[in-house]
Amino acid sequence: MIAFDQVTVHYDDMAEPVLREVDLTVEEGELCLVVGHTGVGKSTLLGLVNGLVPHFTGGTLHGRVTVDGRDTADHPPRELADVVGVVGQDPLDGFVTDTVEEELAYSMEQLAIPPATMRKRVEETLDLLGLADLRHRALYELSGGQQQRVAIGSVLTAHPRVLVLDEPTSALDPAAAEEVLAAVTRLVHDLGVTVLVAEHRLERVVQYADRVLHLPGGGRVEPGAPAEVFRTSAIAPPVVELGRLADWSPLPLSIRDARRAAAGLRSRLAPAPPPVRSRPAPRSADTAGAEGAVEDAAKAPASPVLLTARGVTVSYRGVAAVREVGLTLRAGEVTALMGRNGSGKSSLLWALQGSGPRRSGSVRARRVGGSGGGDPRELSAAAARRLVGLVPQTPTDLLYLESVRQELAQADAESAAAGPTARELLDRLAPGIDGATHPRDLSEGQKLALVLAVQLAAAPGVVLLDEPTRGLDYQAKSRLVRIVDELAGEGRAVLISTHDVEFVARAADRVAVMAEGEIVAEGPTADVIVASPVFAPQVAKVLAPLPYLTVGQVAAVLTGDGGRV
């Protein structure tokens, strides 16, 4: 179906080719998972399939890419639209029309398909993706999962033989992502569509993949069966990491397989309580595997409260986004805020920082040393910033200068706080960013680090992060876990809103779950996220009823014993 013959892609502004001499064949009806870190050429590989690379992006293509017998060098994307359908990361970016029905018909209109056929295909697609009830609705008022399904449907109506999905679920909450992936697997099984999908959160798709295209870097592409590739790949979902750790063979890719293989491991782990992640002062350091059970951590002397919110209500034109929420953030504690899209997480963060609207309720923030503080809403923007720092969902909204150096200098000028300069902070968060780089050229993780450094320059005691995991790969997420740990270790209170369960399991001490603007569950991470089948991380699902959350905990116990199961 898709054939790469000695393909090398070279962008003009880069020294090294992005892809080097790639030979690859994707058969009809395969679901191929493209795996790799940010910047190894995943998007380039996907773009090659429908000719967006190099027709739209520029750069030089050596070799031949043929899709259904057509050479992409001679066929620009629009001439391949009847063979390849492309769905991007943010569905809203690709919508051309206003309503669901018109969007589904758009591709067909361009392909000059007869009206009667169009009419029939739209009805079929509405049913296939469960969109029939939404047919006349405006696109922007749909939920994220619905929008992504419309985006998939809008390319499906043209009956493409190949579907290319570039991180289709990265902006979605777990339930909406399931909805989209279920739709994709159904297409593969029912219609035999060939699917190429890149996805950061591998844990969701790996079990459906027929083949994995692993991009280890250096422009190479290594195709292989999932169980083989993940045995050695640098990135892997937690269930695979657990399998590697326990040396299971064949490597399990789904929770179901892993649970069947894990009986021995469970009995091995059962006697010892799971270790608590260790963290430097102010919290008393618990060593791994020792008596640092969750209960003990709760009994430890309470660290000072840095932010108290009572009865916070936020409403937009009479519709409550946040309803009488109370929250306490303590020094040295990482709290995760979870909940589906639109449950009021962002509104709550903005209200706590004082920059967003707040209808009623009170927020009181204190300085780390205990001296001074107040309601950030009533303070000046500069003073509020020294108490509570917020990194918004689109961090680039805060950046407007030409280079990283200028941004950092501006941050120091704005903050006027004693302490490390913004440059020192940035080097600690993400070392090795050249000061002359334009902020827009940084990777997602680096942008996040830059904005975090800008906000930390004011030395706030409370740090709020709004969906920082969006668009980060495994490496960047691990780095973020480390950063968050350090922030907490310095005695700050951290509140993170996120959809990423695995990230929460590794980074957060406490979890609050929001629904319809109210906090419906709040407590220590282990208690809250294990209790829910949707929110439980993979390790918890495999090892239930043992209260393990991360591969790291299991590894600590196993290596502590010095043996394997």
Binding site: D90, P115, E123, S143, V314, S346, A381, L398, A458
Partner: protein, 431 residues
């Protein structure tokens, strides 16, 4: 997907009788946008023939009536009131200018007040600023302004009654790119507003004080970069979905198309001038208009060949469309004809000052245009989610809407014949 031949073709037979359901209420559907535009433009042309304030006010009343009765709940349909404000502004500006640049008052006029007179240099002697202001001058300025205001409101009514995006789809293939450019900019504008709000809010996070150019830069740079990235992604998406697939155009045919269209437009402009301005030579009117139109049609046909595309659920053109467009055109024709017989009533003079009369034929003509409100089918009721969608919280994207509940009435099956619920009445008449 397996693709069987479609046997049940879409019903296209024209049976006005079937449009009535047993309880006597007509099925709601959207009127063809072109019908509304023809109606409104015809009415605007009719307006150009009269200066009678009573007739002009009658036109405004008719416009208001039709708009209130036949507009939808869509965002573009809430704009008529702004056209009214614009109309008022036009009248006000006209009157103020006439008062300031008062010229041509005769001794027999009714003087109201005098403005202080500004001395003008000798070389500027043609225009005097300030001086006495008469009632007649103000009244004639007001009626002139009112006529222009009426024309504006006609355009406004068309924009309010017809979905602009559907109207653009009527454009011939040759102008397709233009239509898409307009469509994209229509959809980008609200996103830009959202983006500005988001960045402004984010500025406080950085305590971005400072005013003037610096503060503006802090907002403009992120917003523009955002908009640029967004448009690039949209362009890539449109390209991968087949937008702009090549038809059968050669370089020569494209140049020919351009030349034909340009000449045609010139002809249309000259024709319109000849028709609308009563002092222009007779020959300039209809012949130039016809020649221009002919050239344009030829150009569009030729250009249309290079775009091969089809339209999904095209708006039907049936009896109500004929009726609405027809009554607009008829009223224009009536006014044009009666201008020959009853010029004084259509354009009453203020010298001497007298109350204008309401000439019967033009009055009937304008009321006839108002019949469009009854001839057009009722607009489709808006479809609402079960609970109001809260606006996006700061920093969040627009997807944070409420999850809609299932509307049982909209359940449809996949068979094309019965797939359309009541709202799509235009396409699915029950046999």
């Amino acid at each position: 997907m397996h693709e069987p031949k479609v046997t049940g073709t879409l019903p296209t037979r024209h049976r006005p009788g079937a449009r009535r359901v047993p309880d006597g209420r007509r099925l709601a559907r959207a009127l063809h946008p072109l019908a509304w535009w023809v109606w409104a433009l015809a009415l605007a042309t009719a307006v150009s023939r009269t200066n009678n304030p009573l007739l002009l006010l009658l036109v405004l009343a008719v416009l208001g009536y039709v708009v209130t009765l036949r507009r939808t709940e869509a965002p573009w349909a809430r704009g008529f009131v702004y056209y009214l404000y614009l109309a008022l502004t036009v009248v006000a500006i006209r009157v103020v200018f006439r008062a300031v640049f008062a010229t041509g008052t005769t001794p027999r006029d009714h003087f109201l007040f005098a403005l202080p007179r500004l001395p003008t240099p000798d070389w500027y002697a043609g225009i005097q600023i300030g001086g006495p202001v008469s009632l007649e001058a103000l009244l004639s300025a007001a009626t002139d302004g009112l006529r222009l205001a009426c024309m504006l409101c006609c355009i406004g009514a068309a924009n309010t009654l017809a979905n602009p995006k559907r109207a653009l789809r009527v454009l011939p293939g040759a102008l397709y790119e233009l239509g898409v450019a307009v469509t994209v900019s229509i959809s980008v504008a609200p996103q830009l507003v959202q983006s500005v709000q988001r960045v402004r809010r984010a500025r406080r996070l950085r305590a971005g004080h400072g005013t003037g150019a610096r503060a503006l830069r802090g907002i403009v740079v992120p917003v523009l970069e955002d908009a640029l990235e967004r448009s690039l992604r949209l362009a890539a998406a449109m390209d991968s979905r087949g937008y702009g697939r090549a038809g059968s155009a050669t370089r020569r045919s494209r140049r020919l198309t351009g030349a034909l269209l340009l000449l045609g437009m010139c002809g249309l402009c000259a024709g319109a001038y000849g028709l609308l301005d009563a002092t222009a030579p007779r020959l300039l009117g209809l012949p130039a208009m016809a020649a221009g139109a002919l050239l344009c049609v030829a150009g569009l046909r030729l250009g249309g060949r290079r775009v091969t595309r089809t339209t999904y659920r095209p708006d039907p053109w049936r009896f109500p469309e004929w009726a609405v467009a027809g009554c607009g055109v008829l009223s224009a024709v009536l006014l044009f004809v009666s201008a020959g017989f009853d010029a004084a009533a259509l354009n009453p003079s203020y010298y001497p000052l007298s109350w204008p009369t309401l000439p019967p034929v033009p009055t009937v003509a304008i009321l006839l245009a108002g019949a469009a409100a009854l001839l057009a089918p009722p607009p489709v009721a808006p479809e609402r989610p079960a609970r109001p969608v809260p606006p996006a919280p700061p920093g969040a994207s627009a997807r944070s809407g409420a999850r809609p509940s299932v509307r049982p009435s909209a359940r449809t099956s996949a068979r094309p014949s019965d797939a359309v619920p009541a709202r799509g009445a235009g396409e699915a008449e029950t046999p």
